[in-house]
């Protein structure tokens, strides 16, 4: 995991759902509001599960991209 002030990269490649959601959930617990977390995943289940979890928790999905069979989801932590 790489961290840079208000942006964080969360590498959950190879992990299958719900583990990416668990890792994101745990990371957000220690991240201040306004942090931008880029989740990098290979399990396509994240396309459904992370937005659902973010809707429940009130975090904002900033963007979703598929790059070379990897899924990059930017999550803006609620303030």
């Amino acid at each position: 995991m790489n961290e840079n002030s208000n942006s964080i990269i969360l590498d959950v490649r190879r992990l299958l759902c719900p583990l990416p959601v668990i890792r994101l959930q745990n990371k957000i617990q220690t991240s201040p509001g306004g942090t931008l977390i880029t989740v990098i995943a290979t399990d396509r289940g994240v396309l459904e599960d992370i937005p659902t979890w973010c809707r429940i928790e009130g975090h904002h999905i900033h963007s979703i991209q598929e790059i070379n069979r990897e899924i990059h989801i930017e999550v803006l932590v609620k303030s």
Partner: protein, 347 residues
């Protein structure tokens, strides 16, 4: 002044926990959900690996339920703690390696810990008396409450009227008359209640929510323990048991052969850790070799893998074998015919 009472609900993603939670929400209780990740969950892990019928949504049902109900869901990784439940279940196994009663006690105990640390008042589950042959008998309901430490803070809204009143009922936090009296394996009352509450598109039960209730999966786990001469596992072990076709020609090694593109993609992630085989001159599966093997056994493995590629009828198949940190080697093999693979190799 006492604030709004709070309940923590064990959310599996199935209909019963959804209904139980809704019943309590409708009585003005604040409810949050807990969902435990054991590593054996059917939920989630398989839905992206294998092709599914188009009518089956690719979603995590526990999250879907939480969103439908408008509650928070806390997904908790209990993989490490759960090992002892699988390996040494006090109350034994069900039909396969499913330690259902110990599992239920453990999860309610974890819910009790969460309840105390988050200042909640009681626990709810979607259990129905008599629904499952071992872990839901009326006689074992008090065992779960007692051994988990939850005691009378454990409320089962779907069967509450068949059970002694619990703390939230006695204290008047909820109205017992508005709870249910479901029992047995007949699911019609739940379906009817779901219709009344206008729930649709909920997950239908399909062989349980845990791979340990699956005979084939349990056989693979037994085989793993037998081959290693010890009853232990790591998360990757139990995840790989869900993937591919497993064949063990000898006690010292086995093959994990991808059955379709999704499984091959998943197995790719393990190529840095395992010796793996690829078919070069035909379309074919990615295969991992788990264990130790000699050159003759590697050749045997290549012939097995070749049997599952599109060149299975040909005389010669090129198989690349590569071990971690080594250069790949090419083997030219004749594929096994189906009757050359003994059925006892298939786990």
């Amino acid at each position: 002044m006492i604030g709004k009472r709070k309940a923590v609900s064990l959310i599996s993603g199935g209909l019963d926990s959804m209904l139980a939670t809704k019943i309590i929400l409708d009585q003005g209780i604040h409810v949050e959900g807990l969902n435990f990740f054991t590593g054996f969950c059917v939920e989630g892990h398989t839905h992206t690996l294998r092709k599914r019928p188009p009518d089956k949504p690719k979603r995590n049902n526990a999250l879907w339920v939480a969103e439908q109900l408008g509650i928070k869901l806390h997904i908790i990784d209990i993989v490490e703690e759960y090992k002892n439940i699988v390996i040494n279940p006090k109350h034994g196994y069900g039909a396969f390696l499913n330690p259902c009663l110990d599992c239920k006690i453990f999860m309610v105990r974890k819910a009790k810990e969460w309840m105390l640390s988050h200042h909640f008042d009681f626990i709810i589950t979607g259990e129905v008396v008599g629904q499952r042959p071992k872990s839901s008998r009326k006689q074992v309901m008090p065992i779960v409450a007692k051994e988990s430490g939850a005691d009378d803070t454990l409320l089962r809204p779907l069967s509450a009227k068949n059970l002694p009143a619990t703390l939230p009922e006695r204290e008047g936090w909820i109205d017992r008359q508005k709870l249910c009296d479901f029992s047995g394996r007949n699911r019609k009352p739940q379906i009817k209640l779901a219709e009344t509450l206008k729930f649709s598109n909920f997950a239908q039960p399909a062989g349980g929510c845990c791979f340990l209730t699956n005979e084939t999966y349990s056989n693979k786990l037994q085989d793993l323990w037998h081959a290693r001469n010890k009853r232990e596992y790591e998360l990757d072990d139990i995840l790989l048991l869900k993937v591919g076709r497993h064949l063990r020609p000898n006690k010292n090694f086995k093959l994990i052969i991808g059955r379709e593109e999704g499984e091959n993609n998943y197995l790719e992630g393990y190529c840095q850790q395992f010796t793996h085989l690829r078919i070069l001159n035909y379309t074919g599966p990615l295969t991992l070799l788990d264990g130790v093997f000699n050159a003759e056994e590697a050749h045997l493995a290549a012939r097995i893998v070749a049997r599952y590629c599109h060149g299975r009828a040909s005389e010669r198949v090129e198989v690349q074998i590569q071990s971690p940190n080594e250069d790949p080697r090419i083997l030219h093999v004749t594929p096994f015919s189906p009757d050359e693979i003994p059925s006892e190799w298939l786990i």
